[in-house]
Symmetry: C2
Subunit: 168 residues, 2 copies
DNA sequence: TATTGTTATACTCTATAACTATA
DNA sequence: TATAGTTATAGAGTATAACAATA
């Protein structure tokens, strides 16, 4: 039915196809841009971590335990925003693989403290090297000052004001 | 068993509990910081969108269709990184609610072009207002130039070099 | 009574394979 | 033969409720 309306529709479709995508509104939102950058960086990182049979969240746990031996599951849970049930499961697997140790907290027997095993330390070191390598590649389009600035601004968004001043 | 080793363990646990969490390695990684900022911003946004029965991804679709009427599902799928099967499902629900229209592409009958209905336009306008309001609150710790700088640096990470120059 | 951690389970999100129709 | 979109389904990730042990 070659009506006038139909002809207008064809023109509109043709025009839409010819134009570059306009995403001005979304690109003005920090949340959207964080997500896009995250999705650009993380998949290749996941791919490399898979060689160690680690997921990104496993890496976060190992890295935090390396820097904070003997912290409790409670603190770890809060730090990485993983709920206690899901963290229990995650730690089960790391423990079965001999990467971490769970010990009853002698100061409060309800809780458990966490520690990397020697093998966990080695695994963490390898994973951290991988992370830093990939980081360098993924942000190669940024100058060193730009990269520092980006970290500073992101941390200003999510860290409490006090911490943000201390950090990096 | 109050052995020497046990006493050392107690001391170590006490020390770990007293110290602030050290996350220097993670905080040096852009990907980690993007995720943390994203997780700070998005949950309150989700909460507000829920009042319109929208998820964040629904909002992205509405906003993109408002700015790009008559684009195909294929282009939309790529733009928001949602796989075709999952997008089909998402669009089904928006179409059932009368927010969007799917039309056979007259220039290639394999594809479908997308359009907001008048009600979809109204819903999108409300959601965009919500997004911008929340954005202002969520990034209140940044000065206007800092906010612009943050957007610029994030886009430099995920946009192709050409686009990054144009945007902003 | 409140807290730490666990188990079991449900829900959402994402990914994959096979199919239809158009080109 | 290749592409756009759909259906069905599987898998991963996340959230919730009920419970045991300890405080």
């Amino acid at each position: 039915m070659p009506t006038k309306k139909h002809a207008q529709f064809i023109t509109a479709v043709q025009e839409a196809a010819d134009q570059p995508l306009n995403q001005d509104v979304l690109l003005s939102l920090v949340g959207y841009n964080c997500r896009r950058s995250y999705l650009k960086i993380i998949p290749p990182f996941e791919k490399r971590l898979n060689k160690f049979d680690l997921r990104v969240v496993d890496f976060s746990v190992l890295s935090l335990l390396k820097a904070n031996p003997n912290i409790t599951q409670k603190r770890l849970s809060k730090a990485i925003s993983v709920s206690p049930p899901n963290l229990a499961n995650l730690l089960d697997r790391l423990e079965e693989r001999g990467l971490i140790l769970r010990q009853r907290n002698p100061l409060d027997k309800r809780s458990q403290t966490l520690l990397l095993t020697p093998e966990g330390m080695r695994m963490c070191a390898k994973a951290e090297t991988t992370a830093i390598d990939l980081e360098t590649e993924a942000t190669a389009m940024l100058s060193a000052p730009e990269r520092e600035q980006l970290l500073r601004l992101l941390q200003k968004v999510f860290l409490p004001a006090d911490d943000a001043e201390q950090a990096g």
